[in-house]
């Protein structure tokens, strides 16, 4: 057997493994997947919202935060020296919301993490909810998250991020992606493998965040880094699938690409920072060393190898075709005949189709479980596109991200 079928089989095995892993976890926990603990006490909660030029969205975000049906201690907005009307809007809202505190940086810090750290230092509560300025927590979100802190070892609780804007094609694809991510993350929760508590809404135990030194201001995905850091310090992370926060997703390909690149570069920074944890069973952080770090390294490596093979096959096909065309011209024979359209699928093609269908069913099941009836109806064609085309972009973005990271460009956007 030649090397390429072996590589295909390895990829298929890995895909099948993750599918089997998720299905196994789901089958064991399907009855309590949406459940959340009732809080044993009244936890005090401070909100921290980093804001840089968020004049257009900050009022909406604050309205959603103050509408949450949980008594909040305070809402701290850290204005990172915005150059638009953010500060003006905030000053006006102070009268409407007496619990609103505004802290303004004199100089722009260039990172959301710095603003989050400022907010963290100023916060007084036992729990700190960090919210992006363009994200909108649901009314019942905090009530469905705080109970997880009954367990003293829990340092952070996350919830699903849903796409707020789903009008155009790229937004709809992201809506599907966010659902798949949220569901998968909940499944990872059962094996203590949550690797990120995303920025749109994450609830932290203040003590835990202070113990790890707050958010890493040099990391482009401070939410991933904070989660890894908490894991490294032995703190557990949990996910409440019943709560949610909606966030505005990129509407243009360029914005989407930049966002993904930032996520990837942040992930690479995390891999570099936590490389010493690889296959290390330090107390309380075994999951970091045996699952999270290897998973990130492995998926980066697999994406790049897959991309290289794809590029190699395309190059071969192009060269073959150009040679064939050249000789066809010499011999005056037709370039294409009916025979060229006759496809004889091999066994790997059939296996690939089976795996694709399994993935498709898994995605549909996720949308059905999450009761996304509208999303399912509207996306009967979008789902195959998401699985065949959208996901195929990931390795390309990873390549762009590595190039970006090598050139040392770190931009918070």
């Amino acid at each position: 057997m030649s090397i390429l079928p072996i590589i295909y089989l390895v990829y298929m095995f890995i895909t099948l493994y993750f599918l089997a892993l998720f299905l196994t976890i789901y089958s064991v926990n399907r009855k309590n997947i949406f459940s959340y603990p009732v809080p044993k006490k009244k936890y005090s909660v401070s909100f921290v919202v980093p804001a840089y030029n968020e004049g257009e969205t900050i009022a909406d975000t604050l309205e959603h935060i103050f509408n949450i049906d949980y008594l909040l201690e305070e809402v701290i907005v850290v204005n990172d020296a915005s150059t638009d009307n953010t500060l003006e809007v905030l000053e006006k809202l102070k009268d409407k919301y007496p619990k609103l505190r505004v802290i303004t940086h004199k100089k722009n810090s260039g990172s959301a993490a710095a603003s989050q750290n400022t907010g963290l230092k100023a916060a007084k509560s036992e729990l700190v909810a960090v919210v992006d300025a363009d994200s909108y927590p649901s009314r019942d979100s905090i009530g469905k998250m705080v109970g997880f802190f009954n367990d003293e070892k829990v340092g952070a609780v996350t919830c699903p991020v849903v796409a707020r804007n789903t009008d155009i094609f790229i937004e709809k694809l992201q809506a599907i992606e966010y659902k798949v991510i949220a569901f998968s993350r909940k499944l990872l929760d059962y094996v203590d493998a949550i690797y990120v508590t995303p920025g749109p809404l994450a609830l932290y135990r203040r003590k835990a965040l202070l113990e790890i030194g707050g958010f890493d201001e040099k990391n482009m995905t401070q939410d991933i880094e904070a989660t890894w850091n908490l894991t490294a310090h032995g703190w557990d992370r949990r996910m409440s699938l019943s709560a949610n926060v909606s966030s505005t997703v990129p509407s243009k390909f360029k914005e989407w690409y930049r966002q993904r690149r930032r996520w990837n570069v942040g992930g690479l920074q995390c891999i570099y920072k936590y490389k010493s944890y690889l296959f290390s069973s330090r107390k309380g952080s075994a999951m970091l060393g045996f699952f999270i770090v290897p998973f990130f390294i492995f998926s980066t490596f697999l994406g790049l190898v897959g991309l290289s093979i794809w590029a190699y096959l395309i190059a071969r096909r192009v060269i073959s075709w150009s040679l064939y065309t050249k000789y066809t011209i010499v011999a005056s024979t037709p370039l294409l005949t009916l025979e060229d359209f006759y496809i004889t699928p091999n066994f790997l093609n059939y296996l690939g189709v089976v795996l694709f269908l399994a993935g498709l069913v898994f995605t549909l099941v996720i949308l059905a479980i999450l009761k996304e009836k509208i999303l399912m109806r509207e996306n009967l064609l979008n789902i195959p596109f998401y699985m065949l085309i959208y996901i195929s972009f990931y390795p390309f973005i990873m390549l762009g991200s590595i190039w970006h990271a090598v050139r040392g460009k770190k931009i918070w956007r």
Partner: protein, 222 residues
Amino acid sequence: MEILKSQKHVFWEAFLVTILIFAIGVIAGVIFENWRANKIDYLYKESEITLSDIRAQGEIASSLPLDCGEAISQNIAFADRIFKEAELLSRYEGAQTLTEQINLEHKKYDILRALLWSNSIALKKKCKADFHTVVYIYDYNEPSMDTKAKQGVFSRILAELKEDKGQEIVLIPFAGDNNLSSVSLMMGLYNVSESELPVILIDEKTKINELGTVEEVEKFLK
């Protein structure tokens, strides 16, 4: 947390499930490829019987006057038949990933084609027949991209030639680098070496190594 910790066994469970499903998939793949190989093998056996029949006919009737018209028409029909079977063989070969069985079928067919060639030469001598033998000897084992492209065009030229000339030619394509002594012997007899493949040999006299048009090849048939 204790409950959660106890769930980590799912990593192993999923691994075992994956191995099981994967093994079933690979076994299904091997069965599938063997089924294709068996299909080819069945066709091969039928062809083998036909050729043996043709050759036996010649042997038995060696002392009797041979019905040349019938023998030639059987020979050409047989050549056409294994040419068509070669197309199916080639498609299945391209779709083979796990097993090597079809490669073996290819070798068996190569021997059959060498026999057909030898039979065609004998028939031409015996019956003073006016059909042409067009033997196409190609590079089978890992040809370069350039050779592969060239061979693709050679095949197309020969398919067009067969379409134009029909019963006037016996078209015999076979691999020249499969380490088969009968094939090597035939190639040696007509001065064809492995290094010059692909080659078209017309009536055991004219060797064509360079690509040309169908019309240019047809000129050698006159």
